[in-house]
């Protein structure tokens, strides 16, 4: 047990002592390790042990939060008491006795990070390095990070909720640099990861193949021309291409934006917000997926949320406190990076669902445009929905065929209208790993989609229109 049950009850009581109507204790213990290599040589091995307690109190919409990594009972009680002083009343809400909730572990881990020796981890890195380096003689540098973490959480609140779970995650990030004779450098990255243990690396994927993929992108981009700029059709490939939906539409569908009336999707429930071919889902229950968990960080079971069905807005992603402003029930969407953050509504594994077109059909139907095979990160302004993201691997489409590779492209648009501009969706849904940053910190989140076409978007590049 991360903290004695009796102490947790006392903390909740102290929290409610001056009129708060809700109290919550979040306890976290996390072990993580990060190995870093450069050109096949292991440069750094960092081990990290974190522990902390976050106490959250609320009265209607007002939230107070405190955290510490001191586990001394008197200090924790003092923190709860200090926080309760934000409310100057007597006890108004009675605590419900804690009842442990058990949904069963949907995300089983076979090989825990602690079951793997450092030597085995190093062997994975060396294998990935060798394949990346040998892919092409233009590869001048290879950086590899191997990361694993095991987070134990305990979440208890004044409404009687009490859950515990372990969340294990592993990831390898391979970054290849290719350089030509003129000294021009281009990079290619690939970062597969999972909500599994090391069985992911030993059984599910081949790190050598993953390395070759990073190298392939770097070499392709080295031989690419600058991307032309202008407004054109863009075919966005599957998997990490879903970052467009994540940034442009997922964030504005979070209660963080909706509750304060600052989202382009406010007041649109049940209305058409996308073209008919678009169905979008946020699903935190996918077995062992990167953004999955048994519970959200308020202790509610994770759910599968259909956000948009055939173009109609069906659901927002809602946490408890924003749910109060919106007069809606939470959707199991509350997440946080660590005890250092109060939780709020966030995405988990978010994707556009399969459509009926074929990949080849979409390319063939496009006379001129950009094929964004791999996207980088991006950002969105939740106030007006403007977004941008980088194209890590792009090609021109000419006369219905994929033509020359182009580099330096970025895509700029608006989340409020891009969904209406999607006219073809393929049937090849896949997901990619991301780290999503927002008010409650940086959290693992999957993005995904099948290949789809946006009829016109602004493409930024260095070559003129």
């Amino acid at each position: 047990m991360l903290l004695e049950k009796k102490l947790i009850e006392n903390l909740l009581d102290a929290g409610l002592s001056r009129g708060a109507d809700f109290a919550e204790v979040f306890v976290e213990s996390k072990n993580s390790s990060a190995l870093q290599s450069l050109s096949g040589r292991l440069e750094k091995v960092n081990s990290n042990k974190s522990f902390g307690v976050g106490i959250r109190l609320a009265k209607k919409f007002q939230v107070v939060y405190g955290y510490t990594n001191n586990n001394n009972p008197e200090d924790l009680l003092k923190l709860a008491d200090d926080l309760s002083k934000s409310f100057n009343d007597e006890v108004l809400t009675k605590r419900t006795p804690l009842m442990e909730l058990e949904v069963g572990d949907l995300h089983k881990v076979e090989i825990k990070p602690t079951d793997v020796t450092l030597e085995e981890k190093v062997a994975l890195i060396k294998k990935a390095y060798k394949a990346t380096d040998e892919y092409d003689e233009a590869i001048s540098q290879v950086m590899i990070h191997l990361l694993d973490s095991s987070q134990d959480v305990l979440i208890a609140n004044s409404e009687g909720r009490f859950v515990t779970e372990n969340r294990t995650r592993v990831r390898i990030y391979i970054n290849a640099v290719a350089m030509n004779k003129e000294g021009i450098m281009q990079t290619g990255g690939n970062g597969p990861g999972s909500g599994k243990g090391y069985e992911y690396f030993f059984n599910d994927i081949d790190v050598a193949e993953q390395g070759r993929e990073a190298a392939r992108i770097a070499v392709t981009m080295l031989n690419a021309e600058e991307c032309p700029s202008g407004v054109m059709p863009v075919v966005i490939h599957n998997a990490f291409g879903g970052v467009i939906f994540h940034e442009a539409c997922g964030h504005p569908l979070e209660a963080t934006a909706v509750a304060k009336d600052s989202s382009v999707f406010c007041g649109k429930m049940g209305k058409k917000v996308a073209s008919d071919v678009v169905t979008a889902i946020d699903d935190g229950t996918i077995e062992n997926a990167w953004g999955s968990a048994n519970y959200d960080d308020e202790g509610y079971p994770q759910q599968r949320r259909v956000l948009i069905k055939d173009g109609i807005l069906k659901s927002y992603m809602i946490d408890k406190i924003n749910g109060r402003r919106m007069k809606s029930e939470p959707t199991g969407s509350s997440r946080r990076e660590s005890y250092k953050y109060a939780p709020t509504s966030r995405m988990s594994n978010t994707y556009i669902d399969n459509g009926k077109s074929k990949f080849e059909e979409i390319i063939a139907a496009t006379k001129y445009g950009l094929f964004a095979r791999k996207l980088g990160g991006g950002s969105v302004n939740p106030g007006n929905g403007d977004f941008n993201f980088a194209v890590m691997e792009g090609y021109m489409i000419r006369d219905g065929k994929i033509a020359e590779p182009v580099r330096g492209a970025s895509i700029v648009g608006n989340g409020g209208n891009i969904l209406n501009k999607i006219d073809m969706v393929a049937d090849n849904l896949d997901c990619g790993r991301g780290m999503c940053g927002s008010v409650s910190g940086s959290i693992p989140a999957d993005v995904g989609q099948p290949t789809l076409r946006v009829i016109d978007v602004t493409v930024g590049g260095k070559r003129g229109a």
Binding site: L38, R41, L42, E43, K44, V45, N46, S47, K49, S50, F51, G52, F61, Q62, V63, V64, G66, T68, N69, N70, L79, D82, L83, S86, S140, Q141, M143, V177, I184, M185, Q186, T187, S229, K260, D261, G376, G377, G378, S379, N381, G383, D386, F387, N388, F389, A390, R407, G408, A409, S410, V412, N414, T458, V459, G460, G461, K462, R463, G464, A465
Partner: protein, 438 residues
């Protein structure tokens, strides 16, 4: 707290040659006001201990937030097993210390910590009221105050013992304006460790005016434009390319600045310094995380690249002394500052025939390639037509190469802004850059 004497003794007994502990304690206060009421209030106190140990020449690192003596064996054993698998060409270094460390007397301001929270909340409420009073199109206001105090204690087996305490605060204001047809966001941050410095009226004026003026912003036609960047926009761009100055990146062959020492990497108007002693910056430090005394230095002087930034290991590889930039296990600047020039911003704008004033660039973490120096970033601002500010602009991208852009700088502004990127930057004018819009 872990008994460091005991830790050092166990480490020595198990064969660790040198060991260093870095203890950090941070306390936080944060208040957020939404529509006139406190809607978030946060207090925090957290500590961590980072232990670095050298075994067979290689360095293992263990960071813990559990500060109990029972962990000593695990720390030492993990450091040893980590060091055993490291096969980097360079050995780890624990530093014996410098003769002198500069006294920094203005980075901790006790008055700030002691000032009543009620006063801080009152200031935010005043800000909120003034925003709403400014214009009826101001629809939604969120303001917050954050205050951080950080104490650091560094101690190693070579006898070095250093202490630092700093505090800082910042106010963030975000407003949404809506005229029934378009909705825009205004946002800014003021940073200081002296509460008296906050300029509430100025903040309201600048944020609200910019947000209101940007209503109805549209893309411009694609093409080449003369570009004026505000200090904030320039700092955002610089933040994406800070890594280029790392001596380690140069050695790895992943910095554009490799082989460029002593050569021109920018227009002669460009001066970039790293000033670890900057007043009222919470980042200011007299020593880095490796215990090396920090130094004021020019990175770029009159356009010429003067030095890279180094930590102990990268400096040793180059056969020079560390520049005191070993932070967080890597290399970074303390307070990067692009020095201001002589041209008032009005004059810069007047000098443009067909230009754009870029007030905001976004997506610097994604649309900028720190290895190649290429960038293509979403930008917003205003048109400049024949020397006059024109219609608001949004949803465009400005593309270029970082070094080429520095070379194409034709004017440097006389005012500069300390930004939340830890970078201080003036307005600059770039001769011409490709813009993608309609």
């Amino acid at each position: 707290m872990i008994d460091t004497k005991k830790l050092f003794a166990v480490a020595k007994a198990k064969g660790i040659q040198d060991i260093q502990v870095y203890f950090s304690n941070t306390t936080n206060l944060s208040v957020q006001i939404f529509e006139g009421d406190v809607d978030k209030y946060e207090i925090a106190d957290s500590s961590s201990l980072t232990v670095k140990g050298i075994f067979n020449g290689k360095m293992g690192v263990y960071r813990t937030e559990v500060l109990e003596d029972s962990l000593i064996d695990e720390i030492v054993d993990t450091i040893i097993s980590s060091a055993k698998v490291i096969d980097s060409l360079e050995d780890g270094i624990i530093y014996e210390g410098d003769k002198e460390y500069k006294e920094l007397d203005d980075i901790y301001n006790e008055e700030l910590t002691n000032l009543d929270v009620a006063k801080k909340i009152e200031t935010l409420k005043e800000l909120d009221t003034k925003f709403h009073a400014f214009d009826e199109k101001v629809k939604n206001v969120e303001t917050s105050y954050t205050e951080t105090t950080n104490s650091v204690l560094l101690e190693n087996s070579k006898g070095l013992k250093l202490f630092n305490k700093a505090n800082a605060s910042y106010i963030v204001a975000e407003v949404i304006v809506n005229d029934g047809e378009d909705q825009r966001v205004g946002f800014d941050v003021q940073i200081t460790n002296d509460f008296k410095d906050y300029k509430i009226d100025e903040m309201v004026q600048e944020i609200a005016t910019d947000a209101l003026n940007s209503l109805g912003a549209k893309p411009v036609d694609s093409g080449n434009y003369e570009i004026v960047f505000t200090g904030l926009a320039l700092a955002t761009l610089f933040s994406a390319f800070q890594g280029l100055f790392s001596g380690r990146s140069v050695q790895k062959g992943i910095s554009l600045l490799k082989g460029k020492l002593g050569t021109a990497v920018g227009s002669s108007l460009i001066n970039v310094v790293d000033d670890p002693f900057m007043k009222k910056s919470a980042s200011s430090r007299s020593f880095d995380d490796e215990g090396v005394a920090t130094k004021f230095k020019y990175l770029i002087e009159k356009g010429v690249l003067k030095t890279y930034l180094h930590n102990l290991v990268s400096a040793k590889v180059d056969g020079i002394e560390s520049t005191g930039n070993g932070f967080g296990g890597g290399i970074s600047s303390v307070n990067m500052k692009i020095e201001s020039g002589v041209t008032p911003k009005e004059e810069m704008i007047q000098s443009c025939k067909k230009g754009l004033l870029i007030t905001n660039v976004q997506g610097a973490h994604a649309g900028a390639n720190p290895v190649s120096g290429d960038f293509s970033l979403q930008a917003a601002g205003y048109q400049i037509n024949d020397g006059k500010i024109g219609a608001p602009v949004a949803l465009i991208t400005v593309a270029g190469n970082f070094i080429q852009m520095l070379k194409d700088v034709v004017l440097v502004g006389s005012e500069s802004k300390m930004t939340y990127y830890g970078i201080t930057a003036p307005y600059i004018k770039v001769k011409s850059m490709p813009v993608s819009g309609n």
